[in-house]
Structure formats: C-alpha cells, structure tokens
C-alpha cells in the first residue's frame, strides 16, 4: 500500500505512524494476520520511512490478512479510518514470495527553500554537481559519522514556484541513509547557500531506479514484487 504523510502529519515519527496504523486497522475491522507467540502482533512491515518532519507522497507498508478480501475495499475502509494527512492512496495484492523492499532503490525529493534566491540555489547546485564527493557529518544511532552526500545523488536541479525556490533531487537509497537534509548540508558546505527558514522536504516517489535516472513505480504491473489486483479482477471491478 502507498500512503502519504501530508501537512502537519509530517511531524509524526515512524513509531507514531506504526501506532496510528495499528489502531486504524482495528477500528476498520481489517482481518489482520497475527504473529504467533506470547504477545501476538498484527503482521505489518514497513519500507523506508521518511524522517520526522519530512512530508511524503510515497510511503509504503505491507500488511498480511487472515482472510482474502477485495483489496480496494480494505484500502477504502482503512483510509477512512486514518487521520487526514495519512492517506492510503494505492493498494495492490503482493505476489507471494517476493521482497518489496528490494524494489525500492531510490527516492525523488522536492525541497521548498523559502527566502532563498533562486540564483544562489542554482549556483550552489552547479558547484555540488561538479564535485565527485562531498563529505558531511551527522549524528547516527552509532554516534557521529561522516559520509558522502554527492555519490548517491543521481540528479539535482533548482526551480521556482510561487516565489519559493525548489530543489529537485533523485537520491539512491544507501547505508547510512542520505536524507534530504544531508544533501542540504552538503550544498551548504561547498557554497555560501543560507537557509533562513527551515527547509520543507517532500518525498514525491520511491521505487526502482530506471536506466535514465528516474524513479519507477514499485506497484506498477510487471514489477516482480506486486501484481495489481485491479488487473486480475478487472472484469468484476
């Protein structure tokens, strides 16, 4: 299932989202499969969650049901039960025995940079793209770590919308994760770019990295991880 993290709901952490989902599943009376054991948990698995404060149009979650259901019915019921801003926009039936996580190789991002002149952003982008590697540091779970922010950036360009400079990025998923704010740190470290207002990042999509450097749809027919139930059951829908 693809879901969004829009508006003020972008301030949810991944733990918050997981809890909100579990309760919505119960309210919507989705017949969940539970794990075995002493304290059974509904079977829910998450893929690449956006950080707290980052908005997203493309987060993914897989759930396992105890009964066969029409996918669209489950999606609609669950969506109605989720808070506005966490919207379930798409659901397909997973093909058995495949790993969805392997399909998700890169993300397309958009970062709104209010009060930043487009020209200085464009200049910073030019310098960034000329470099082979740009090292920044960030606190991770394992302490302070230095990593390269240039390598995973597949593409980067600057535009303007409603008087606000916008940075467009395609970034590969690597370990440790290179997040939009890491790329901004990289930009700032090689240029005199200043961001007086907190930047607002949104993930527009995530999925397989195509040969032309774009991000594909991981739920699209033909991808090994998923088959659209709408296609299989087109006649009945």
């Amino acid at each position: 299932m693809r879901y969004t993290k829009r508006g003020r709901l972008r301030f949810t952490s991944h733990r918050d989202i997981a809890r909100v989902f579990e309760r919505a599943l119960r309210r919507a009376e989705v017949p969940m499969a539970y794990s075995a054991g002493f304290s059974p948990h509904p079977k829910v698995s998450w893929v690449g969650a956006a950080a707290t404060g980052v908005a997203s149009e493309a987060e993914y979650v897989e759930i396992a049901l105890a009964e066969v259901r029409v996918v669209e019915d489950v999606r609609a019921a669950l969506d109605a039960s989720l808070p506005d801003g966490i919207d379930l926009v798409e659901a397909v039936e997973a093909a058995p025995g495949t790993s969805f996580a392997d399909l998700v190789q890169a993300s397309r991002w958009e970062i709104a940079l209010a009060a930043v002149p487009l020209e200085s952003l464009q200049a910073a982008v030019e310098i960034f793209l000329e470099k082979d590697a740009i090292e920044v540091e960030r606190m991770t779970k394992n302490g302070r770590r230095a990593f390269d922010t240039r390598g995973p950036v597949v593409s980067m360009r600057a535009t303007k919308r409603d008087d606000c400079a916008i940075l467009h990025l395609v970034v590969q998923h690597v370990t440790p994760a290179v997040r939009p704010d890491d790329v901004l740190s990289g930009l700032r470290s090689v240029s005199d770019l200043a961001t007086p207002v907190p930047p607002a990042a949104t993930r527009l999509s995530q999925g397989p990295l195509t040969a032309d450097g774009e991000v594909g749809d991981p739920l699209a027919p033909g991808n090994p991880g998923a088959t659209r139930q709408v296609d299989e059951a087109a006649g009945s829908l």
Partner: protein
Amino acid sequence: MPGESLFSRLEQLLPQVSKPIQYVGGELNSTVKPWEDAAVRWCLMYPDAYEVGLPNQGVMILYEVLNEVPDVLCERTYSVWPDLAKLMRENGVPQVTVDAHRAVRDFDVLGVSFSTELGYTNMLEALDLAGIPLHAADRDESHPIVLAGGHAAFNPEPIARFIDAAVLGDGEQAVLEMTEILRRTKAEGLNRHDTLLELAKTGGVYVPRFYDVDYLEDGRIRRVAPNHPDVPWRVAKRTVMDLDEWPYPKQPLVPLAETVHERMSVEIFRGCTRGCRFCQAGMITRPVRERSITGIGDMVKAGLEATGYEEVGLLSLSSADHSEIGDIAKGLADRYEGTQTSLSLPSTRVDAFNIDLAQELTRGGRRSGLTFAPEGGSERLRKVINKMVTKQDLIDTVTAAYSQGWRQVKLYFMCGLPTETDEDVLEIAEMAREVIRAGRQATGTRDVKCTVSIGGFVPKPHTPFQWAAQADPSVIDARLKLLRDAIREDKSTAKAIGYRYHDGKPGQVEGLLSRGDRRIGAVIEEVWRQGGIMDGWSEHFSYDRWMQACTTTGVDVDWYTTRERDELEVLPWDHLDSGLDKEWLWSDWQDALAETDLDDCRWIPCFDCGVCPQLGTEIQVGPTGKKLLPLSVV
C-alpha cells in the same frame, strides 16, 4: 484577530524541536469549532507535558461535555518543553491550544487541572507564554478567568494569587453551570470583578479574592473570612451522583504521539470507602458512586469502536471493590475472548478474590506481574494507616498468584508514615523474603521475583493525617538505605527482590505545596523566575532551587512540613468544604495514633465522616443483578 490559528507561525519552529507531533493536535475524536459561533470559550490545560496530560481522564471528560453544548467551544493546551518555549519567546509565538492553535489568552476561561501540586510552576510558565499576567490582580476584562480544578484544588491557597477561581470535586456539572453564568455575564457586559462575584455567590466556585486571611503573631492562621456580604463562608465541593448519566468520555481522544497510557480507561466507580488515612483521593471523592455493570459494558464497547485501542483499563480507586466486579470481569472477558483486546484492573486489594479477577481478565493472555499495596511494613503501622491487611493475607495472596502462573509480584509501600520507626520499615525486607519463599514453594522453581517499591509519605489536606508531622527527608533517606541493606543482607533471596525507591527531597517540596497557605505563592513564583518548571520530572526538579527560593522569600520549610498541628489550629483549607466533618477527621487521627482500625463503611451503616448526610444520600452501590450479554455478531 482573536481566535485565529497561529499554526503557520508555530510550524516554522517545529522542525527544530524534539517530538514535534505533540504540538500539532489532530487527535482522533478531537473537536474544532468555529470561533465566532461560540458564546463561551473554554481552554483546558493539563499542566504537564502532552505525553502525560493527554490521557488525563478529567480533561478528556470536560472537553467532551463542553463541546457537546452547541454554542460552547472547548480546546486543550499542555505544557511545552523548554526547547520549544525558548523558540516561542524568541519568535513572539504565544501559548496556543493543540486543537485549532488559537492563542490561550483569547479564551474566556483557562481551566487548569491539577492532579499534583508539582504542576504549579508549569501553570506560571504557561501563563507567561500566553501573555496573561501571572497575578490575578493584574488581569482585566481582556484576559481569561484562570480556574483551578483537580485534587490539588482542594487546597488552592498556595496558588491563590495566580488563579481567579477554583472548583472542588467533580467538574461535569460545574463547568456547565459556570458556562451558563458566563453566557449571562458576557451578554450583560459585566466587568471582571462582578463576573467573579456571580461565580462566587453560587457557593460552588471559590474565588480567593473574596476571602481575606488573617494571621496570628506566631504565623498560624487566625481566620479566613469573606470580604463581601454575598459570598458564603465556606465553598462546597461538587459531586456527580449518577455516573450512568455521565458516560464520558464517550469518544476518548486517541493521540498520534506516544503517551504514558497507551490504553483506554473506563471509570467504574468514584469514591472509596476503604478509609486509608493517608489517601487524599479516598477522602475527598466520597461517597462511593458506582457505574452499573451494563453502563460499563456499553462504555467499553463504544470506546473500543471509537478508538481502536487494544487495552481497556477499568479505572477507580480500588476497582476490585465494585459490588459486581466478578460479573463485570467475567462478562467482559467472555465478550472479548479471542479479539486481541486485553483488560486490566489496577489491582491493589490484597486478597484471593483479586487473584480470581486477575485470572479472569488475563484469560489466555500474558501473566507478567501483579501489584499489591500493603503501604505499611508492619502490622502495627498498617493499623495506624487503616490499611487492614495482615502479613498472612499477603502471603496467601501471593502464593495464589504464583501458583496461578504469575512470576512477578510488585509491592508498594510508603516511608515516613506517622509514628513510624526504623523497625516498621525493616519489616518490609522480611515480608519480601517471605513472599519469595512462598513463591518458590508454590511453584517449585526459583524463577519468582518480587519488587519492593517505596516512596516518602506526604500528609495531605482533608485527610486524618492533615495534622501530622511530615518526616524530614534525611529520616526518609536513612530508612530507605537501612531497608536496602536489609534486603541485600539475606543472600538466599537478595537477587529475587528488586528495590525501587524515591528519595525524600521531592516529597518535602510536595508537602510544602500540599499544606501550604497563601504565603507559599511567593516561593512558587520565585522558583519559576529562577527557571523552575516540569517539577514532576526528576531531570528538571531541583530541590536546591526550591530551598533557595524559601530562603529568599523568608519561608520556613520545616514549619510547614515537619510541624505537627494541634486540634484547634485553623488550617489554610478549612473554608473549603470537602464534605468531611473536621471533628470526624480529628477523631480518626486520634484513632490512628491509638492504632485503632476502622471498618469499611460500604458494608456497615455509618454516617460518621459527614459526607452522606450533607449530600442527603447514602453511598450508591449496586448490585443491579444484571449480566453482560454477548455482543451480537456484526
């Protein structure tokens, strides 16, 4: 513009603070109403962090009760953490509600619910952030009426200078009646003084400015008297008699953020008749009023459907005492068997019946730990506090628990109780050892654990111990250390006994605030001015800051805490009527000192404490004889 959303300004600050989700609102079952359509606008505050405040039942109930009135609007606000408070001050963003992010200062009433006195500095912080003058005397018609409620409001004298009014007891009817008065005073354009006078005249709202306190030369209170002919000498507490008429919260709030209680609660009765002499809640919430078994069943069902919670807590001061608790437990366990819904009962009763109940509620589920509260270490001390549990009761009960599959037992105690000696406290170690031995024998394994949890006793207003000398922190800390050593001494059980304790210093500050008078307001204000907030959090609480503030303001902490009061002393809260007869409280205090215990008035005819005759009622207990029927299959 009053009532406008300030979210876009707050939003700019949120990426820079920890756990921003706690400030954005949007909880399931929350309500946002148009500002202009509302005749009376309430803002309710729980003066602690969101994660503690959101699950508070009192705020949740009143929020829903008020919002059900078509032209009344109610929103919530909680304490903000220092990281956000700093940014708000730098950027001129005031304290706002979480619902529609409206400025708190724009509301008609700011109702603050105090479960504990340790929230007082947080109220000052919120008032300051809101741009509301700290002192009631400095406010004008443009500011909200600052109203205190909750258990600490039974002695609001230490915060008298900061609040405009206080309500004692149950809030459901009180907030609606206040709303009607405010609807009228606003329409008539009354000024602040006259509006507060209208509230005070009802006799159910305490307005400190209409009462003067005179002191004797030795510092004790000479008298507290009204300074206006229309206000009564004493202000009465509020009591909701029929809980089935008030099945709130009907739509419990479900937060996006993580909180301290990740479950839904259903209050199964109010009040308590056990008569534990240390327990303020048990005294001030009398009489007992039960919710019916069918009312409980309906609330559990509706609440689970509205929330999606996995756990339901059956809430009260002593839940196993509900007259139909057996049928309630069985009925709910039957209804929710196999649905991944778990039920819990705050279990403090020490008898075998409690084990049967716990067994019913954990049918097929986890049996991790059971909690019991003997409170006092020795038989003698338990007579003093009127907690009538013998050591044999406890051993029998834990033996039953261990044999039924529980492996861990938690025991709660207090230290520093009146008349307590080192020997009383040391008996706790022996009790814990016997619990372990009984557990090992019952299970045939060494895989049993017992945790002793102990904290300092704080004497509270409106209890038989309101006259008692509080133990000095040094006495408490010394006894806690003796107990720790005694537990460690016996190597055969030491590893099976866990030991958790709270040191005596925060308890002394709580004691100062609990039994303080109006002169303590200066201390609270000084502590806040020196940066004191979030006093309920050990990482923020500073004992030294409180003691320094006492020195600065000339307040003798010992005089307020470790001094025993005599029968005739005017206590700061004597003009506030909890329904309890002061003479009865005194005689119960004398019985305590004589180590005489008292029967539970639930089962014997008794009107001694004064609550029932005054309210013209008897305690409201079942049984209804009804049973919970299985839920029909949808």
